[in-house]
């Protein structure tokens, strides 16, 4: 380590202002902060100021994603082995197989996104930071394991460039870049992103996800029974050893991640809680008043199906694209929950609604903040008896 640090410091003048490689400073800086532990703290980006560097915040998110990543890798292999060979293989073989499927996707996401990130950082002279590590990891976790690699590259390019860099980089974006990338692929290449054949990495194997089974339940029959007969119970969906996007099947792993994010104070518990409440309220309303078979689903099932838990913990709480005011966050989370359930239950075009609900509320978040602030200003003025303030 000492040897590396010496080399690193020896090269520093080359990159500093006036040095030969001055233009490549962001790269040097990235190496500096990724590998060593410099004393920098953040002054801009997703928070105004803090005692820690933005990089520490982002790396904590990566740790929180850990359980979901590992489980996703295992599950991808598990599903493959289960359906290709018809028997469960050992955990080791599942992991190996899963790594074979998932790691290329993650690698392509990082490589393609990284090229854009470095290009923009170099030309525009901002720092490269772990914000991208989070985006580049969240994005593959929302994809089906059968996704063609070139689509991964196209998607992350769109997400990083249009979703983030044109706004000026980390901390400036309006929409969550990983979700922007995901939605872009969803609308551009629906065949590879939805349907029943994409969720298991075995050619020609068709395995419906709980959501598509629920949506396909015929009028008059019970949606819970339909799920049970397909092998999905509440607990199996909570555990998540089922077909689905790489990282999102297990609500339990997302819950672990939520624990880490809440303990370190990085994720907003306010958003997570209000989103769950929103989904439960809407689920109950639909159960009481709706009449399609899907709307009869017990509300708590919505929390473990599809990408709800994952989106709730890792996507909706993105501090940049979420609402910033305390009251605004409550409204924001609540509406995401409501809209997600509405879209997945009512909209025949999309089996899953969490992603689109979060994107929609990302669009509305600044407006919510604006109105919350105006209301606050008004109530303060009223309290102090200021006229026309």
């Amino acid at each position: 380590m000492k040897f590396m640090l010496d080399m690193h410091d020896k090269m520093r003048p080359l990159f500093e202002k006036g040095g030969k490689l001055e233009k490549l400073w962001p790269l040097f800086d990235a190496h500096d902060t990724f590998v060593f532990t410099p004393a920098d703290t953040t002054h801009e980006g997703s928070h105004l100021r803090d005692a820690i560097d933005l990089k520490r915040v982002m790396i904590t998110v990566i740790f929180a994603l850990g359980p979901a990543i590992l489980f996703g890798i295992w599950n991808a292999g598990h599903q493959h082995n289960l359906n290709a060979e018809g028997a469960t293989a050992g955990i080791l073989s599942d992991m190996m197989q899963g790594a074979w499927i998932v790691l290329p996707i993650i690698f392509v996401s990082y490589a393609a996104g990284g090229v854009w990130e470095v290009l923009f950082a170099t030309v525009r002279r901002h720092e490269i930071n772990e914000g991208f590590l989070v985006t580049g990891m969240l994005f593959p976790l929302t994809l089906p394991p059968t996704i063609p690699l070139w689509q991964v590259a196209v998607g992350i390019s769109f997400g990083v460039v249009i979703g983030k860099e044109v706004f000026g980089g980390t901390g400036m974006n309006v929409l969550n870049p990983a979700l922007t990338a995901r939605a872009f692929l969803f609308f551009a290449y629906p065949v590879q992103m939805s349907g029943d054949a994409v969720w298991t990495a075995v050619d020609g194997f068709v395995g419906a996800t709980p959501l598509s089974i629920a949506a396909a339940t015929v009028e008059g029959s019970s949606v819970v029974e339909a799920l049970t007969s397909a092998g999905y119970s509440f607990s199996s969906m909570l555990m998540g050893a089922i077909p689905g996007s790489i990282g999102e099947t297990s609500a339990l792993m997302a819950l672990l991640g939520a624990g880490i994010l809440l303990m370190t104070g990085i994720g907003s518990g306010r958003i997570m809680a209000s989103m769950v409440v929103g989904a439960l309220v809407m689920g109950t309303t639909l159960k009481l008043f709706g009449s399609s078979a899907f709307s009869d689903l017990p509300p708590h099932y919505h929390l473990v199906m599809g990408g709800f838990a994952f989106g709730c913990v890792f996507m909706a709480t993105d501090p940049v694209s979420a609402a910033a005011t305390a009251r605004g966050q409550l409204i924001y989370g609540f509406l995401i929950g409501v809209i997600a359930v509405i879209v997945r239950t009512i909209n025949p075009a999309y089996p899953e609604g969490v992603m689109l609900a979060i994107l929609f509320m990302n669009v509305m978040a600044p407006l919510i903040d604006h109105y919350v602030l105006q209301a606050h200003i008004k109530s303060r003025a009223a309290n102090r008896g200021l006229a026309n303030a």
Binding site: I162, F187, S291, P366
Partner: protein
């Protein structure tokens, strides 16, 4: 009945938002979204004009212009007339006079807003979303009640879109946006991304929940039908429409 109206209203606000699904009325939307106040003011003005112009144009069409509409006069020769070729000019005349009215009111009671809206207030006359709404109404054969709800909710949709854009532009005001994209360029990109967000609702039909769905839900879609809502603009309209936008 009420459910149909609510369905139509939600449809106009979220699913077929006149701005973010049809991209009508872009010019004032882009130019007046720099400040929250002017965006709100213009939004309210558009709601007002749309709410009145749609039912008024409906009445004009229903009782004066459509084929056989003049039958109520009792005269044989009038009953045979088809004056629908006068549609555009009549609609525009109604819209223009409504805008005059709005202008008088705003000038009298909100002089600051009047100054900040400037030329864009009279230009509501040629705001595509307003003439567009009247033409959609005609195309889809709405009844009176529907046209009222349709106009009002289209206006709400337009209002929502412009204030959301204004809030986003306020948020990114100090962002380090590439030089060439500052201002209008960014507004276009943000508008595109907003339309992305609104896609969440495309395809939603309240009827499927509130009434007994007649057909079993289609098995999970292989490739969801994601085509944009079809825009039926008569071909002879397009030219004038573009000129109005410019």
């Amino acid at each position: 009945m009420l459910v149909d109206y609510i369905n139509l209203a939600l449809n106009q606000i979220f699913v077929e938002n006149i701005l973010l699904a049809f991209f009508l009325g872009m010019c004032s939307y882009l130019s007046q979204s720099r400040k929250m106040e002017s965006a709100t003011g213009l939004g309210v003005a558009v709601i007002f004009v749309l709410t009145l112009s749609c039912p008024m144009n409906w009445a004009i069409r229903e009782f004066l212009l459509a084929k056989g509409a003049l039958a109520w006069t009792g005269s044989e020769s009038l009953a045979g007339l088809d004056l629908s070729f006068l549609g555009f000019i009549c609609y525009i005349a109604v819209i223009a006079s409504l805008v005059q009215l709005v202008e008088l009111v705003i000038d009298r009671y909100f002089p600051a807003l009047y100054t900040s809206l400037g030329i864009f207030l009279p230009l509501i006359t040629v705001n595509c979303s307003i003439l567009g709404a009247s033409l959609f109404m005609e195309e889809r054969g709405y009844k009176f009640g529907q046209s009222l709800v349709f106009g009002f909710s289209s206006g709400i949709g337009w209002f929502l879109a412009i204030v959301a854009l204004a809030a986003i532009r306020k948020k990114i005001r100090y962002s380090h946006v590439p030089q060439g994209l500052r201002g209008l360029g960014m507004a276009f990109i943000v508008t595109g991304l907003m339309a992305f967000g609104f896609l969440a609702f495309s395809g939603i039909d309240l009827k499927t929940v509130t009434k007994k769905a007649p057909e079993p839900a289609a098995p999970a879609v292989e490739a969801p039908a994601l085509e944009a809502p079809t825009i039926d603009i008569p071909s002879d309209l397009e030219d004038e429409d573009l000129e109005g936008e410019a």
